[in-house]
Amino acid sequence: MLHHCCRCNWLKILFRSNFCQRKLSSSHFNCRLFGSDLVPSTSQWIEIKEEDLPSKTILSLEEVRHVENLALVQYEDLNFEKTILEDAIRFADILLTVNTDDVEPLYTVLEDESLYLREDIVTEGGSAENILKNAQSVMEDYFVAPPGNIALSDSEHKSN
């Protein structure tokens, strides 16, 4: 399997050796010959042409409203919001050019860590006053919120 180290690629062509030919594994990527880092010393810009990307995602106004509902945000101008969203998606499209075949998804950078398990002892809570301190509206030690999703009553099923 070939790897991406630009220096070693050059070397490989010259000496036709297998010095730098290693399996692409997620944590052991080390070119012994020059001891170069994974991180290049100068910024490496790769230009991605518009043609290399898939076609631009165009959203319908319905979809924009749907996203508004999910995210609980709302712009005044729906069309402006549509443009913003489409540009944002376009910007993220460059991720699609990266080849991720045979690469395990990185779930968390903490993947070598292990979740710490705490003992089952009560040490927190006990003060309603503290918890309610920041609330805008409180009624008898309850948070007050707008009415939520409530079931329809008799009128609906009487017609059944």
């Binding site: 968390t108 903490l110 927190e124 948070f143 939520g148 099923h157």
Partner: protein
């Protein structure tokens, strides 16, 4: 409530152009009379998938160390993390992980050595973070199964358990007259095990049978307290109907049903509703419905819920959850800080199915009898009684436990058989006295009551009160012979009615009764009437033939 109103209905299948209309017998019934109602329509195959949310009975919550308690002043058991105050992080509770592993093992699942947590995003006032921490892609246990008995144990069915995941419970919201909602976060963050089944259950009856077995297992392994009134065991049902077994129709979800009777009602109602819609030519809408406890109907929610997109994403604040086994735990410096699956497997108690099997096999109890004892955690008491007195008839012991021991526990408000005032050994002694005819049924009951009050051993009680009956064959025979002789002298007519060929006739019974009465008088009521009756009958038969 009478269920039957038969109607002949002429109906066309939707889309069945050119087909002959078929007449279907439709049985209409009132939902609340479940016992006699049966869905009688073979063309539609209902499919039910269940998601059970069982609250883990840990001391503290899943990701915070606030107290896990049902009744408490509002918002008094809330940590900063539960209230989503910025700057707080989740720290998982070891006991919750242990109980999830235990449950997974009891349900024959494969415990995943590494599992991950995800965020499930949706906005609701009782969930301050705006997301719930759950395990969507990589849960802690997968691919299990459960065998459950139906029809009084004669049929055993199997359901696949897709997965068991750890997740947070939300807070509680109280709706005030449509004006505002009051939020109490005491329950927010409490650990839940979500047990997901494959859509394999095909009726409300099966669903309830499965849930009862699952409930019994969770109680037995001690991972959930199962207080239905406190919402510790909630069920979401996904119900659909199809015409073929291989297909699945549009599913309708009904959430947060608590109580077995309600679950039965909901599923039956929903199946019936969907069948009615489809047969009237309509299409079942994919939605989430709520459940009206009083009427037993499922109803649509007021805000037609937008198609929810939960935007699952890995929980960035939680590294992978590792559980270990005997081989991998040795390499750790501190083995007690982690969960060892093999250790948990060794610590699993006997499950209800095994206990019932043992009772049925060893003592020839019926399924119903075995289930009765197992459900009340009384199997050990029963077994101990049988072990103290091998000769006893198991059904007699069972009947005694069912009638007298349970009555005692109810009267004295005892919650478990261990608190019973009469130990298994004492009960065995008592029933042995009864079995050997040393006391009769009436005295036995009296002795039992006295044992409860005085806490004395039954043998001692019987002796002190001089309740022992005369029952040895020799003495009884002599007494009966004397009585018969006396009667023949004083009142010959009394015995004349006895007919050896018809011992059960009124006249025969009367004759025997006269003898017994005299013997009782002579022995100051100490005679064991049962034994005396047998002896008397034999003597009278003999007299007739001689």
């Amino acid at each position: 409530m009478v269920p039957s109103l038969f109607m002949m209905q002429r109906c066309l299948f939707p889309g069945a152009i050119g087909c002959k209309p078929s007449f279907i017998l439709v049985k209409r019934y009132n939902c609340s009379s479940q016992k006699n109602a049966r869905l009688q329509d073979d063309r539609w195959i209902p499919t039910v998938g269940l998601e059970i949310h069982a609250q883990i009975n840990s001391q503290s919550k899943l990701f915070s160390s606030a107290k896990n308690q049902f009744m408490a002043p509002p918002n008094s058991l809330v940590s900063n993390f539960d209230a989503s105050i910025p700057g707080t992080l989740p720290v998982i509770n070891k006991e919750c992980v242990r109980k999830a592993v235990r449950t997974g093992l009891a349900l024959n699942c494969k415990i995943q050595k590494t599992s991950f947590f995800d965020r499930k995003h949706y906005f609701y006032s009782d969930m301050p973070q705006g997301y719930q921490i759950t395990q969507y892609k990589h849960p802690i246990a997968k691919n299990g199964y459960l065998h459950y008995p139906t029809a009084d144990g004669s049929v055993v069915k199997r359901v696949k358990i897709e997965q068991i995941q750890l997740e947070q419970d939300s807070g509680k919201s109280m709706h005030e007259e449509g004006q505002v909602t009051l939020i109490d976060l005491n329950r927010a963050g409490v650990g839940l095990m979500e047990i997901v089944t494959a859509p394999e259950v095909s009726s409300a009856g099966d669903a309830c049978a499965f849930l009862k077995e699952l409930y019994g297992i969770l109680m037995r392994i001690g991972t959930c307290d199962g207080k239905l009134a406190e919402g510790q065991f909630r069920v979401d049902a996904n119900i659909s109907i199809a015409q073929q077994k291989t297909k699945l129709g549009t599913r309708v979800e009904v959430k947060n049903i608590s109580g077995f009777k309600h679950i039965h009602n909901v599923i039956e109602y929903e199946i019936k509703r969907q069948i009615r819609i489809v047969e009237e030519g309509g299409i079942v809408e994919s939605e989430t419905r709520a459940f009206d406890y009083e009427t037993g109907f499922t109803v649509s929610m007021r805000d037609k819920e937008i198609k929810q997109d939960y935007r699952f994403m890995p929980e960035p604040n939680l590294p992978p959850l590792h559980v270990y086994d005997d081989s991998s735990v040795t390499s750790l410096s501190n083995p007690s800080s982690v969960i060892n699956v093999d250790q948990e497997r060794r610590n699993l108690p006997k499950l209800p199915a095994d206990i019932r099997g043992h009772l049925i096999e060893s003592f020839h109890l019926s399924f119903v009898e075995a289930e009765f004892l197992t459900n009340r955690n009384m199997e050990n008491y029963f077994i101990e009684v049988m072990e103290c007195a091998h000769n006893l008839n198991p059904t007699v012991v069972w009947n005694w436990i069912k009638m007298h021991v349970i009555a005692h526990m109810v009267e004295y408000n005892l919650s478990s058989i261990e608190e019973c005032y009469v130990s298994a050994r004492d009960l065995a002694a008592l029933l042995l006295l009864l079995h050997n005819n040393e006391i009769n049924a009436e005295t036995a009951h009296l002795t039992f009551t006295t044992a409860i009050q005085t806490r004395q051993h039954p043998d001692k009680i019987v002796e002190e009160n001089n309740w022992k009956m005369i029952s040895d064959k020799e003495t009884v025979t002599k007494l009966c012979e004397d009585a018969i002789a006396t009667l023949q002298c004083t009142d010959a007519k009394a015995l004349s009615g006895y007919d050896a060929d018809k011992p059960k006739s009124k006249a025969s019974k009367q004759a025997i009764k006269r003898v017994i009465m005299l013997v009782r008088k002579n022995t100051n009521d100490k005679i064991h009437t049962g034994v005396a009756k047998d002896v008397t009958m034999k003597l009278l038969n003999y007299k007739r033939t001689s």
